[in-house]
């Protein structure tokens, strides 16, 4: 077999891609909410984490992996919708800082409640695929059946979201109510309902991420499992531009690959510092993100 496929560079790229798709998914879910409601959801890691705990509670009733995944997604849809209706709806039109503070509060409450109910010791989830890496001519290859499942799922979710926005009437309405809520309302779009739907959708995307991350053999599911992923997801969204879904995904994947190279060639501690430096530099060069067209901001 070709030694190129097991070389250090290819291993890093593929390993980085595996992490990068999860960053990209978190970034995408942040962008979905930001574009439709102008709220940066700091609980975007904690809400999916909570829904994942709820869904995988079915394990003790002898349900299989896929039934639990479905339950997680349903729990996520409900949690996202309820959050928008009960908490976020009161914050539209308030100063920018109010929704930030409320969502940080929600993050604390969700993590504390999850730890109170399910304890903070990691809980290992069953994995549908083996995470033992394939061998190529006696050398370990960067991918395993599980990482392929991770990448394929992430790409599938991204494609579904893109298709929803581009090809369906619902997607058109979602885009319209984000862009011009008043006009959409006059044209008969139920803007309020669509905002709720946007939050549900975004939380569901987050839930898929949380499942992928916490099925990972090493971390398991803990109340704080999404904290680090959220930080990287935010960095990716900010680099790509909070307005651009494509930018968020691309930046997420690139960030994952860069992180892998830094881990391999420097050390683990340097990863977040390099990410922070990339964020600072990209924000100084293009404050509204690399992938967005600069626009005059609304006063």
């Amino acid at each position: 077999m070709d030694p190129f496929l097991t070389s250090r560079v290819v291993t890093d790229i593929l390993g980085g891609l595996t992490n990068g798709v999860t960053f990209g998914l978190v970034a995408l879910s942040l962008v979905l909410i930001w574009r439709s409601t102008g709220v940066l959801n700091f609980a975007q890691g904690a809400m999916p984490m909570f829904a994942t705990y709820v869904g995988f509670a079915l394990l003790s009733y002898h349900f299989g992996y896929w039934a639990c995944v479905a339950a997680c997604v349903i729990a996520g849809l409900m949690l996202g919708g309820l959050t928008e209706r009960i908490l976020v709806r009161r914050l539209y039109g308030k100063p920018e800082i109010n929704p930030i503070v409320v969502m940080v509060g929600f993050l604390i409450v969700l993590e504390a409640v999850a730890a109170a109910i399910w304890s903070s010791t990691p809980r290992s989830l069953p994995s549908p695929f083996s995470s033992i890496h394939w061998q190529l001519a006696g050398k370990p290859f960067a991918l395993s059946p599980f990482t392929v499942y991770e990448i394929v799922t992430a790409v599938l979710v991204m494609a579904l979201v893109a298709a929803l926005f581009r090809f369906t009437k619902l997607g058109l309405q979602l885009r319209a109510s984000a862009l011009a809520p008043e006009v959409s309302r006059l044209l008969g779009v139920r803007v309020g309902r669509l905002l709720t739907l946007g939050w549900m959708l975004s939380t569901a995307v987050g839930v898929i991420t949380a499942i992928l991350v916490s099925t990972n053999f090493f971390s398991g599911l803990t109340p704080t499992v999404m904290d680090g992923i959220f930080a990287y997801g935010f960095i990716a969204a900010a680099i790509g531009g909070l307005e651009s879904p494509i930018g968020a995904i691309v930046a997420g994947v690139l960030l994952g690959i860069v992180n892998q190279f830094v881990t391999d060639y420097v050390n683990q501690n340097a990863v977040i510092m390099v990410a922070l430096a990339m964020l600072v530099v990209s924000l100084m060069v293009r404050p509204s993100g690399v992938f967005t067209k600069s626009t005059q901001r609304r006063v």
Partner: protein, 399 residues
């Protein structure tokens, strides 16, 4: 009447000066000084209250100085009667209130939000510990100044990109810094002591000239805690005095204009980037001072203290106290000082298992819940609610 009022102001100032001198003089001899200082405090309070309206309008700086002095005297007097553990909590509360003051200024006055003040606090705390380990003989005031300078420097470095960012981007960037901070600490483990952190080489003890107060026959442990508590309270008092003046100054007023309407602020000639960097530097310098003080109080510093969770706690405290206000920082500090006791009281009185999951998470549930409720129903916290209530009471027509 007007003549009388004009005469009251200098007399109040003179009285306050005399009091300070008398307090210092008695302090060096016996504990009787404590009793004497109370009597004189009452005198200042009376003088202050009679002359308040005139003093506030004519010499606001003097009025604030008198108020600070009065507050300090009362607080220090009380510490002599509290138990060691209460004093320790008070000292941590005083250190925290300094950090809150910085965030209150940044968010409340200039409208920027920071989720990284816990990390700025850590910068001060570690600077203090590292400095003390290399130069053990430096006087405490000088070490605190070095910690402040390091905090200001880091604030400048992060404040420069921050000038171009608005709300959510800035919040996210400071969040990333707060998350990165613990990793930065472990990367420099030869300086910061790695996971175990640093111990201070010696405990801070009271200088000889304060013997009358601190070495009068009680156990050394108690007097050390007492002395550190009083130092923390005095430092906090000085910090409050400076911040009150900054809020009222031209800088403070231009910051509030930026928060309310940045376009108008630019039109009247305020430089937005400069004002934002200044606010950022002030806030991180205050955070560093609070962190340095916390190192002195604990006599050690550990990297796990300065995690992202601390930044979130800081934000919750100032929102609950009253963001953008000075009294809010004081309220937040008091809440922090007694939160542990209150939560353990709740645990015992509701019959929760103290080692159980619920009891260990009660802190997060209560603080997070209060954070949400405050922002939804009283966006200016306790200080804002009290002020609102006070105005309603006063504007109600008589009868």
């Amino acid at each position: 009447m007007k003549l009388l009022a004009a005469r009251r102001v200098p007399s109040a100032i003179a009285l306050a000066l005399v009091v300070t001198i008398v307090v210092l003089a008695t302090a060096s001899s016996t504990r009787v000084g404590v009793a004497l200082s109370v009597a004189i405090d009452l005198a200042i309070a009376c003088a202050f209250i009679v002359s308040v309206p005139e003093l506030k309008t004519r010499h606001p700086v003097v009025a604030r100085a008198l108020l600070t002095l009065l507050g300090l005297d009362v607080a220090i007097f009380l510490t002599f009667f509290f138990s060691s553990s209460t004093n320790f909590n008070l000292a941590t509360g005083a250190a925290m209130s300094i950090v809150l003051l910085g965030l209150s200024f940044l968010t409340g006055a200039s409208g920027q939000i920071s989720l990284g003040n816990g990390a700025f606090m850590g910068v001060g705390a570690f600077t203090m510990a590292i400095w003390a380990n290399h130069h053990a003989t430096t006087p405490i005031v000088f070490s605190l100044l070095i910690a402040i300078a390091s905090g200001a420097l880091v604030g400048l470095l992060l404040g420069l990109p921050a000038t171009r960012l608005r709300g959510p981007y800035l919040a996210g960037m400071t969040l990333a810094f707060a998350v990165a901070f613990t990793f930065i600490l472990s990367s420099f483990s030869s300086w910061t002591g790695g996971d175990s952190g640093l111990q201070l080489p010696t405990a801070w003890i009271a200088p000889r000239w304060l013997d009358g107060f601190y070495h009068a026959g009680t156990s050394p442990l108690t007097t050390t805690t007492l002395y550190i508590t009083d130092v923390a309270i005095v430092v906090a008092g000085v910090a409050f005095f400076f911040m009150a003046n900054l809020f009222a100054s031209r800088t403070g007023r231009s910051m509030r204009l930026i928060r309310d309407n940045d376009v108008a602020a630019e039109l009247v000639g305020i430089s937005l980037p400069r004002a934002r960097v200044v606010a950022f530097i002030v806030s991180s310098a205050y955070a560093a001072l609070g962190g340095a003080l916390l190192t002195v109080i604990d006599n050690s510093v550990s990297p796990s203290t300065y995690s992202f969770a601390l930044s979130v706690t800081i934000l919750s405290l100032i929102v609950i106290g009253g963001i953008g206000t000075i009294s809010g920082a004081l309220i937040g500090g008091v809440v922090y000082a007694f939160s542990t006791s209150v939560i353990s009281w709740i645990t015992t009185h509701t019959g929760l298992n103290p080692q159980g999951n619920v009891a260990s998470q009660l802190n997060g549930i209560i603080f997070g819940g209060l954070l949400i409720l405050t922002m939804l129903f009283a966006p200016f916290g306790i200080a804002g609610a009290v002020r609102h209530f006070w105005h309603r009471m006063r504007s109600r027509p008589p009868g």
